[in-house]
Symmetry: C2
Subunit: 244 residues, 2 copies
């Protein structure tokens, strides 16, 4: 049996057809989605743009996101995952629109059979959830179309624990991951980290650098009008049981 | 005075406007061009395609290149730099067309003021030739639109010796370069290296992995009908002197 392939797309535009895509935007969209589901949101609708998110307003829905790294004035929430930690989601739905992360999720949903969301908060849970019998591509969200160090670092951390034939990009991502003693340094050193620092949001960096503190893996479960809907499949089963 | 920026485009499609572009296709196009000029070719015309190269046939010109890593049947030469070492160029012009390298040179010539060609053979000479007062982008040629480990490795070797503000991609390239004890390992491990091995051209890998054995830096000096013409500016001056 030939080995499965483990690949990394350093930008969403590099993504090819794949079995399982793991989307990473550690600063901050995939961290925000993971924390939102942990906080009790039933689902997160990942909008490709601020404008699309506005069209999805509705009862029981909360709009969240950022533009140029800052909250959108008419949205209820920004893109800070730390702000969601003690947030009362009341089982509602979040509509999230960010510059790089949610467009990457949209791109992945068009090219992969299974789309998972990864960050450092859920690293161990993610590695348990990735199917072992399909090709896997870790999709880095990048920053405004440019390579993002912090996503490449997390991609390398993931690839380093997967079996399979590694592509050139996967080998390089592992080099990046192994070059740092801990996650905080590459997150701080990255252009995204610098921007968070210069906009008074430095606390989010250390918050996003914590590893394996949440035992859940967000997954795209449907694609409504090209807006991927992300939830935790296991919780969905539990909810189904409760309604029987 | 603000620092200049040092960036890496892991694929030609990522290249933005820049002061100096250093194009790298270590396996094998930029190595071939460097060796061709060392062998006495007056210039190398870098064609975006095999078809364009054919239209440039003419007296005193030699066609060289590859398709799918193998020589093109109606071309005089392939893309093996080793084969050029004892070749008698007789001061002629080479027309080169390769899958990844020459299109990358074409892309760089459209976006940078100064375009230099780099490989391992001319590493020291290249680092002396890169202007210190402009932004620098190392442009990796990649492999069929995908990230290429061997080019990222050489990019990291170059960036590691340049001063300036490093972009996220430049930081990552340095991680790749520092992860290997010598050049042969990443060149062999790369998809391009594997393909050369499987097509009986493994000897080219070790040949391309030798460092700083040629003291010359190919540079784009003109762009004739969107075909960059590469030569050694210093030698050109020497030739001019001789004709006085």
């Amino acid at each position: 049996m030939p080995d499965t392939e483990v690949d990394v797309a350093f930008l969403p535009s590099e993504l090819r057809e794949t079995g399982t895509a793991v989307v990473v935007d550690v600063l901050r969209a995939t961290t925000t989605v993971t924390q939102a589901l942990a906080a009790g949101y039933r689902s997160v609708h990942c909008a490709p743009s601020i404008e699309t998110a506005r069209t999805l307003r509705g009862p029981g829905r909360v709009l969240a996101g950022e533009r140029h790294c800052l909250p959108v004035p008419d949205f209820e929430l920004g893109n800070s995952p730390a702000a969601l930690e003690h947030h009362d989601a009341r089982g509602g739905e979040m509509v999230l629109a960010t510059t790089n992360g949610t467009p990457a999720i949209v791109a992945a949903a068009q090219r992969a059979s299974v789309v998972l969301l990864g960050c450092l908060l859920n690293l161990d849970a993610l590695l348990t959830a990735i199917p072992s019998n399909t090709d896997v591509t870790v999709v880095c969200s990048g920053t405004d179309g440019r390579f993002a160090l912090e996503d490449a670092y997390v991609a390398g951390r993931i690839v380093d624990r997967l079996t399979g034939d590694r592509s050139d990009a996967a080998l390089a991502a592992v080099c990046v991951a192994r070059a740092y003693a801990d996650a905080l340094e590459p997150l701080r050193e990255s252009a995204d980290g610098q921007l968070l620092g210069s906009t008074g949001q430095e606390a989010d960096i250390a918050w996003c650098a914590r590893e394996s503190v949440l035992d859940l893996v967000p997954q795209v479960i449907s694609n409504e009008d090209s807006v991927p809907v992300v939830t935790i499949p296991v919780r969905r089963l539990e909810v189904s049981k409760l309604t029987i």
